[in-house]
């Protein structure tokens, strides 16, 4: 397995479209790095540049220290799993899996043995003589993984491999991919737009937006300490509530004055003025009986039952805020609701846009931030 390094890599398409903008990252040997972001964020382009399917406009990509910018995809010794699976329809499962081995001039005995072994691992031994069109989505997925694994490449690239599966199968295959990565101790770059998939799979995740990496961190760090408002809103489901406003003394007041609450004391000594965004995750919002220092008041709009929890949407001054509460909580639309915002879980962002940076609580970490 190999280490993959991207150094100030950019991709500009012919018409001047900047798909990837000056990104740098290192995928350590044996690491599973997830590139996650909305469509058009440049995550797939980044993956395809690593694969060699797209030219690099600027910067350097290294695999095990060797610059591969000019190396053709077939010579990079990297396997890729495509969203569409890209199985060769005119070839049987066995022939699909032997295809990369034939390219390497392996002898037939060895090819047969390797395929049998890999099929065993993936539970597709019964399917070897079928054509891809005769397989279900999950089976096709396994074959696609098998074709990647069978040749023992330096690294694996997975381009939204689970996106075309139904929810149940997606969870199953997600676990399978995680297990395989562990067993093979493989260097893996996994692209997805699904933040939940990113959180569960990744050793580290790179959250991308507009061709830039917003945050590169272990999933729990991206969740607890999102580096900017975009990451805060993208990671976590349901997504974080944002209140735009300003600090007045120890109070946070929303722009239209409809919300006023006592700010978490950890931000007390922060010297901030101008427009700010206060963020709080729905799971850190609870229902309060009485208004208080850390509550905001509005009227219930709708509730969504998730099974193990219920999401209550509350309208305050024309904006909706969400609280994730116990599933047996009952409220009628229009009823007045007091939401308690756990002060220990306040996030503060310096500005109002997606790029508004996280304000590190002054008494929590070193003063330089």
């Amino acid at each position: 397995m190999a280490k993959i390094e991207l150094d100030d890599v950019s991709k500009v398409y012919g018409e001047g479209v900047q798909a990837v903008d000056d990104i740098s990252l290192t995928v350590e040997d044996g690491e599973l790095l997830v590139l996650v972001g909305p469509s058009g964020s440049g995550k797939s382009t980044t993956l395809r540049m690593i694969a060699g399917l797209e030219d690099v406009t600027d910067g350097e990509i290294r695999i095990d220290g060797e610059v591969v910018n000019e190396v053709q995809p077939q010579n990079r010794d990297i396997a890729m799993v495509f969203q569409s699976f890209a199985l060769y329809p005119h070839r049987s499962v066995r022939e699909n899996m032997s295809f990369p081995l034939e390219a390497r001039g392996r002898v037939q005995d060895e090819i047969d043995r390797t395929i049998e072994e890999t099929a065993e691992v993936l539970g597709i031994s019964e399917l070897l003589d079928r054509k891809p069109t005769e397989l279900s989505g999950g089976q096709q997925q396994r074959v696609a993984l098998g074709r990647a694994i069978v040749r023992d490449p330096r690294a694996f690239l997975l381009d939204e491999p689970l996106a075309s599966l139904d929810a149940k199968l997606r969870k199953e295959m997600r676990a399978e991919v995680g297990r395989l990565q562990n067993d093979l101790d493989a260097t893996m770059v996994h692209v997805t737009h699904n933040q939940e998939e990113a959180m569960t799979l990744g050793d580290r995740i790179a959250v991308m937006n507009n061709g830039e990496i917003q945050q590169l961190a272990p999933p729990e760090v991206a969740y607890t300490e999102p580096t900017n408002r975009f990451v805060a809103g993208f990671i976590g489901e349901p997504s974080m509530n944002f209140i735009v406003g300003r600090i007045e003394g120890d109070r946070f007041v929303s722009g239209d004055d409809s919300i006023e609450l006592t700010l978490s004391p950890q931000f007390a000594s922060a010297d901030l003025d101008g427009d700010l965004t206060l963020g709080i995750r729905p799971e850190h919002v609870s229902i309060a009986e009485e208004p208080g220092d850390h509550t905001i008041t509005g009227s219930a709009v709708v509730t969504e039952l998730l099974g193990d929890a219920k999401v209550v949407h509350v309208d305050i001054g024309g904006n909706e805020y969400m609280a994730k509460v116990s599933p047996d909580y009952d409220v009628e639309a229009g009823e007045t609701v007091h939401l308690h915002l756990d002060p220990a879980e306040h996030h503060l962002f310096d500005g109002v846009g997606e790029t508004a940076e996280r304000v590190t609580p002054p008494d929590a970490t070193a003063p330089e931030a």
């Binding site: 995809p73 077939q74 890729m80 890209a86 060769y88 005119h90 295809f99 390219a103």
Partner: protein, 305 residues
């Protein structure tokens, strides 16, 4: 199982249902459909049957009235075509020479049209921007849009100047002007249906760009390629107008021979029928032989697989 039962079973299988009528309404429909198909088949097949029967008659029985339905079963018409007892009015070209020309010209022009058109179609399907874009592709097709008679005169003078009139090479070149655009356009649409990800997968699997084309995309469009080849070949095989003007002596193809069988004195109907029968034969044989692939090729892209 009789051949008819077998054919029925295949049709039912293809449509995924049983066509045995169950209600009076279905029975009426079945009778109506059968009657319609019968009429269509009779109308289309009777002339062909008549041609084949005529080819086995002597010239006098061809003109007999009322018509003679059962032929004499003589091969005289065929023998005359192949020059055993020559009654050729114009030139010494007999059917063996004409068919040789036809075979050489049609096969060569098909092979070259495929050799040029398949890669071009692929290029237009994958990266039209680099080779003139869709306007260039359309321009290629536009060659087929004017009536073929229009360029005949200018082409004749050009060909005469460079000595290509009366040569097989000349005919091959002429047929390319019509067949290359056809191949480019058909293959372009077939290649478009091959997902790009498959070629990328092949490259990731360790194959070069060309190998990805050769080992993955080409086999996938094979049914389409076979259908395209057949259409191209049939065009060249049956073409008359250009062959009449540009083909002479050794380059005279079989459709032009019909002219020779038709003079001021008489029309050699039995020999014409024999020539037609021989001309139809390879097309029918090849079509039957390739039937399965052909249907798949012609419907390729129409239904997503």
């Amino acid at each position: 199982m009789s051949a008819v039962d077998d054919a029925f079973a295949r049709v039912e299988n293809a449509f995924g249902r049983d066509f045995t009528p169950r209600t009076p309404r279905e029975a009426v429909t079945a009778i109506g459909v059968t009657a319609f198909v019968t009429v269509v088949l009779v109308v289309t097949l009777i002339p062909i049957v008549w041609i084949v029967l005529t080819s086995f008659k002597e010239q006098p029985s061809v003109l007999r009235y009322p018509p003679q339905f059962v032929p004499d079963f003589t091969l005289g018409a065929y023998a005359k075509l192949f020059g055993q007892t020559s009654s050729m009015q114009y030139s010494g070209v007999d059917a063996s020479m004409a068919f040789t020309s036809s075979i050489v010209v049609s096969l060569a022009s098909t092979a070259i049209a495929l050799a040029l058109g398949v890669p071009a179609g692929y290029a237009y399907a994958r990266n039209a921007g680099k080779i003139g874009g869709h306007h260039a592709a359309f321009w290629i097709l536009s060659v087929r849009m004017f009536p073929p008679i229009a360029p005949i005169l200018p082409l004749f003078f050009i060909f005469q100047n460079i000595g290509l009139v009366g040569t097989r090479t000349g005919l091959i070149l002429l047929y390319l002007t019509f067949n290359v655009p056809l191949v480019v356009w058909l293959m372009r649409s077939f290649f478009r249906d091959v997902p790009k990800a498959l070629e990328e997968a092949a490259m990731m699997d360790g194959y070069s760009r060309f190998q990805a084309f050769y080992k993955v995309s080409l086999p996938m469009v094979m049914p389409g390629l076979v259908a395209t080849a057949l259409l191209t070949w049939i065009f060249a095989w049956n073409e008359f107008q250009f062959a009449l003007v540009f083909g002479k002596d050794t380059s005279m193809t079989f459709p032009v021979m019909f002219i020779q069988l038709h003079s001021a004195q008489n029309v050699l109907w039995n020999q014409m029928a024999a020539l037609s029968t021989l001309g139809m034969l390879p097309i029918i044989v090849i079509s039957v032989f390739l039937q399965k692939r052909l249907v798949r090729g012609l419907s390729l892209g129409a239904v997503k697989g």
